[in-house]
C-alpha cells in the first residue's frame, strides 16, 4: 500500500497549500517593476511612510520588468488591480480619460501646487479636464555617450564631439571602418536603441507637436518630420552608413568599443561604470539640428507616473503615498541611489545632486527636454520601428515608408481617442 499512502500524502500536501492570511490594517497595494536599486529604495521609503502614518501598511510588490504589463493588465482586466502602480507616459492621455484612474484630490495636492512644483513636461501628459492623474517618477532624458579612445584613434578631438546633425554625420563616418568586402567592422553610431534615435530626431526637427492630440493625427509625415527620417536614412543606408542592422546584431556595440557614439538615457552611466570600467567614455548633450540654438540642444524627456486605481478604497491615502514618493526628500533618494533625474523644479541644479560633470550634463538636459509624444507605448513604438525597418532593411523610399507609418499611427490615435 505504499503507493496508496503516497497518494494520500500528496492530497494532504495539496490541501495544506491553501494558505491565506488576513490583515486588519489599512493596506495600500503598490506595484512597480523590479529594479535592483529602486526596489530597496522603495522598501525603505515605504517603511518611512508607515512610520509617519501608523495604521497604514504599504504592500509592495516588485514585478519583473518584462512581464510587468502582462500582470498589470490581467489584474486591471479582472477588476482586481493594485491601489497604486506606475505607467509610462505614453499611457497618460488614454488612461487619464479612461475612468480607470483616480485623480489627485485637491485636499492632497492642488492643481496649482502641482504646476508650481514640477517641471511642466513631467506632468503634462497626465492632465485631463483640469485635473492631474499621475505624478512623475523614473525621469530620464537622452544624452550622447562618446568613446574618447575611438575618437582619438580616428584623429578626432574627444573634447569636440558633434554638436550638430552635420557634425554627427561627418564624425560618425570618419570613425566607421569597413573590411575588404565592405562590411562594417567598427560603427560610428550605435543605433540599437532605435526608440532613442528615432524620437530624438523627430522631437528635435518638428517645431510644433509631433502628435497633434486635438486634431488626432501625427505630424511627422510632413516636411519637418521628413528631415528627421532623412537623417536616419543618411546614417543607416548607402555605402557611407555609420551602422548596420547586420553589424553585431543583438550585441552591445558601444560597450564592446565597436561604436563611438551612443544615444541613451543618463542612467546608462551607472551600468557603464559598473560593468565596463575600462572604457574611456564621456557624456555630452545630444547634437542639435543644423541652425538650431546650440546653447539649448533639444532633447527628449521620458518619465513614468505613479497613478491611483479608480477602484481603490483609500483614494486620499493612496495619493498621499504617491505625493510622498514624488516629494523632495524621496526624489533625492531616487537621484542619488538610482541615477534617475528629479522632476521637481527646485531640485534642478541642486549641487548635492550633481556631484560630477556627467551628472551636471544630465541635469541640464532636463531643461532642454520636451516630453515624448505618442499615444501609447508598444503600439506606437512598433509603428515607428517599422518605418525605420522599411527604410533600412526593406529598401523603401523615405517618403513611402513614412507616409505609411504616419497613416497607421494616425488611425491608431483616432481609434483610441474616439
Amino acid at each position: 500500500m505504499r503507493k496508496g499512502s503516497l497518494v494520500l500524502t500528496w492530497v494532504i500536501l495539496m490541501s495544506l497549500c491553501l494558505v491565506g492570511a488576513a490583515s486588519p490594517q489599512v493596506v495600500i497595494r503598490h506595484w512597480q517593476h523590479h529594479h535592483e536599486s529602486r526596489t530597496p529604495v522603495l522598501e525603505s521609503v515605504a517603511k518611512e511612510f508607515e512610520k509617519r502614518n501608523p495604521g497604514v501598511t504599504i504592500e509592495f510588490e516588485p514585478i519583473p520588468y518584462d512581464a510587468y504589463f502582462d500582470k498589470l493588465l490581467t489584474a486591471l482586466a479582472s477588476k482586481t488591480g493594485p491601489d497604486v502602480f506606475q505607467v509610462p507616459m505614453g499611457f497618460g492621455i488614454e488612461m487619464s480619460r479612461s475612468g480607470l484612474l483616480a485623480p489627485v484630490p485637491e485636499s492632497v495636492f492642488t492643481t496649482k501646487e502641482i504646476e508650481a512644483s514640477f517641471l511642466p513636461w513631467t506632468v503634462s501628459q497626465f492632465k485631463y479636464n483640469g485635473k492631474y492623474y499621475g505624478l512623475p517618477t523614473d525621469v530620464q532624458t537622452l544624452v550622447m555617450f562618446v568613446n574618447d579612445t575611438l575618437l582619438k584613434e580616428a584623429g578626432l578631438d574627444p573634447n569636440k564631439p558633434p554638436r550638430t546633425w552635420s557634425e554627427l554625420i561627418e564624425q560618425s563616418r570618419i570613425v566607421t571602418k569597413r573590411d575588404k568586402s565592405g562590411k562594417i567592422i567598427q560603427g560610428g553610431l550605435d543605433t540599437r536603441y532605435k526608440w532613442a534615435v528615432i524620437n530624438l530626431f523627430l522631437h528635435q526637427s518638428i517645431n510644433g507637436p509631433v502628435v497633434d492630440v486635438a486634431k488626432k493625427r501625427v505630424t511627422y509625415g510632413e516636411r519637418e518630420g521628413l528631415e528627421a527620417w532623412n537623417l536616419i536614412a543618411q546614417l543607416m543606408t548607402g555605402p557611407e552608413a555609420v551602422d548596420s542592422p547586420t553589424f553585431l546584431t543583438g550585441q552591445m556595440k558601444f560597450e564592446q568599443e565597436r561604436a563611438a557614439f551612443y544615444i541613451n538615457h543618463p542612467v546608462t552611466r551607472g551600468r557603464l561604470e559598473l560593468n565596463h570600467p575600462d572604457i574611456k567614455w564621456s557624456v555630452h548633450h545630444v547634437p542639435a539640428p543644423d541652425g538650431h540654438d546650440l546653447s539649448k540642444p533639444t532633447t527628449v524627456g521620458h518619465h513614468w507616473a505613479y497613478v491611483a486605481n479608480a477602484k481603490t478604497q483609500n483614494q486620499k491615502l493612496a495619493w498621499q503615498w504617491i505625493q510622498f514618493l514624488a516629494s523632495e526628500e524621496v526624489q533625492r533618494k531616487w537621484v542619488l541611489e538610482s541615477r534617475d533625474l528629479p522632476s521637481l523644479i527646485r531640485l534642478v541644479n541642486d549641487p548635492e545632486l550633481t556631484p560630477d560633470l556627467e551628472a551636471k550634463i544630465a541635469m541640464d538636459s532636463l531643461q532642454f527636454a520636451r516630453p515624448f509624444e505618442g499615444v501609447g507605448r508598444n503600439d506606437v513604438d512598433e509603428i515607428r520601428n517599422e518605418i525605420w525597418d522599411n527604410i533600412v532593411i526593406g529598401g523603401m523610399s523615405v517618403e513611402k515608408a513614412v507616409s505609411a507609418g504616419a497613416m497607421a499611427e494616425t488611425n491608431l490615435i483616432q481609434r483610441k481617442l474616439r
Binding site: 497549500c17 491565506g20 535592483e36 519583473p64 520588468y65 518584462d66 502582462d70 560593468n275
Partner: protein, 275 residues
C-alpha cells in the same frame, strides 16, 4: 558483414559526438557565464573560460531574491502538478485507449483542443476564477491550471493502446474490479510512459513563468523563474546573476532525468501474462 558494421559504428559515434557539442554549447556558456562579471558576460566574442572568475554571482542570487524559498515553492508546485498529471492522465488515457462508450471521440477532441488555445488568452479568465476561489498567492493557486494536461492524456493513451487487451479481459474474467485492473494491470505496464511524462511535466512546469507571476503576490508562492526574470530590468539585464540562478535551477532537472531515464532502458517484456 563485420567491415560494414565497423564503419557504421564509427559513423554513429562521430555524428553523436558532433551532436554533443551542439547540444551542450549553451549549457557550457551558461555555466561559464555564471562565474563571470557582467561586463565579461556581454563580451563579443564570448569567452568560454572566464577571464575574471568570480563566485559573487551565486552569492548575489541568494541575496537579491529569496532564492531558497522560491526553490522550495517550485519543488512543492512540481510535486503537486506531477502527481495530479500522472494520475489524471493515466486514468483518462486508459479510458480512451481501452473503453468504448458514447461520446468518446468528442471528449477526446475536446480535451486535445485545450492545447490549441495559447495560454495568454486563458490567462484572464483563469485569474478571475482563482480570485473568486480565493486561491491567489497560494501554491495550489500556482499549480491550478496545470493539474490536468491533455498532452499527458494523449501520451499515455498511445502507450496504453499497446498493452494487449487480453491481459485486461483475462483479469476481468478472473473477477477483478475495474480499479484493481487499472492498478495492477495497466499502471505497471506503462512505467516508461509514466517516467517520460513525469520528466516532461517536471521540465516544463519548472520553467513556467507567466502564470506563477500572475497568480502570486508575495514570496509565499513565487517560484524560481520569477526570481530569474527579476534580474532582467528596464535598462539592462543582470545576465550573470540570471545564469547563476539558472545553473542552480537546472540541477534537479538533470538529476531527475538521469534517475528516470534508466526506465527507458529496462523495458518490460510484453510476452506472458501478468498476475
Amino acid at each position: 558483414m563485420k567491415g560494414a558494421d565497423y564503419v557504421l559504428k564509427v559513423l554513429v559515434y562521430f555524428s553523436l559526438a558532433i551532436g554533443v557539442v551542439i547540444m551542450l554549447l549553451p549549457l557550457v556558456w551558461m555555466f561559464s557565464a555564471s562565474f563571470k562579471p557582467l561586463g565579461e558576460v556581454m563580451r563579443t566574442p564570448p569567452t568560454w573560460i572566464p577571464l575574471q572568475p568570480t563566485v559573487n554571482n551565486y552569492k548575489e542570487v541568494f541575496r537579491q531574491v529569496p532564492f531558497a524559498k522560491y526553490y522550495l515553492n517550485s519543488v512543492i508546485v512540481a510535486i503537486i502538478v506531477i502527481g495530479s498529471v500522472l494520475i489524471t492522465s493515466s486514468l483518462a488515457a486508459y479510458v480512451f485507449a481501452k473503453f468504448e462508450f458514447p461520446g468518446k471521440q468528442i471528449w477526446f477532441f475536446l480535451i486535445l483542443s485545450s492545447l490549441m488555445v495559447p495560454f495568454q488568452v486563458r490567462m484572464i479568465p483563469l485569474y478571475r476564477i482563482s480570485v473568486s476561489m480565493g486561491i491567489t498567492d497560494t501554491l495550489f493557486g500556482v499549480s491550478f491550471p496545470w493539474l490536468v494536461d491533455a498532452f499527458g492524456i494523449f501520451l499515455m493513451r498511445q502507450f496504453i493502446i499497446t498493452i494487449p487487451t487480453e491481459l485486461i479481459e483475462v483479469a476481468r474474467i478472473d473477477g477483478a474490479s475495474e480499479p484493481l485492473i487499472f492498478w495492477r494491470v495497466i499502471l505497471p505496464n506503462c512505467k516508461q510512459a509514466l517516467s517520460a511524462l513525469a520528466i516532461f511535466t517536471f521540465a516544463w512546469n519548472w520553467e513556467e513563468f507567466l502564470w506563477p507571476l500572475i497568480a502570486s503576490n508575495s514570496n509565499a508562492s513565487r517560484t524560481i523563474p520569477i526570481g530569474l526574470q527579476s534580474f532582467a530590468e528596464q535598462y539592462g539585464s543582470n545576465v550573470h546573476w540570471q545564469m547563476a540562478g539558472a545553473v542552480v535551477a537546472i540541477v534537479p532537472l538533470l538529476l531527475v532525468f538521469m534517475l528516470l531515464e534508466k526506465q527507458f532502458v529496462e523495458g518490460i517484456t510484453m510476452t506472458g501474462l501478468k498476475g
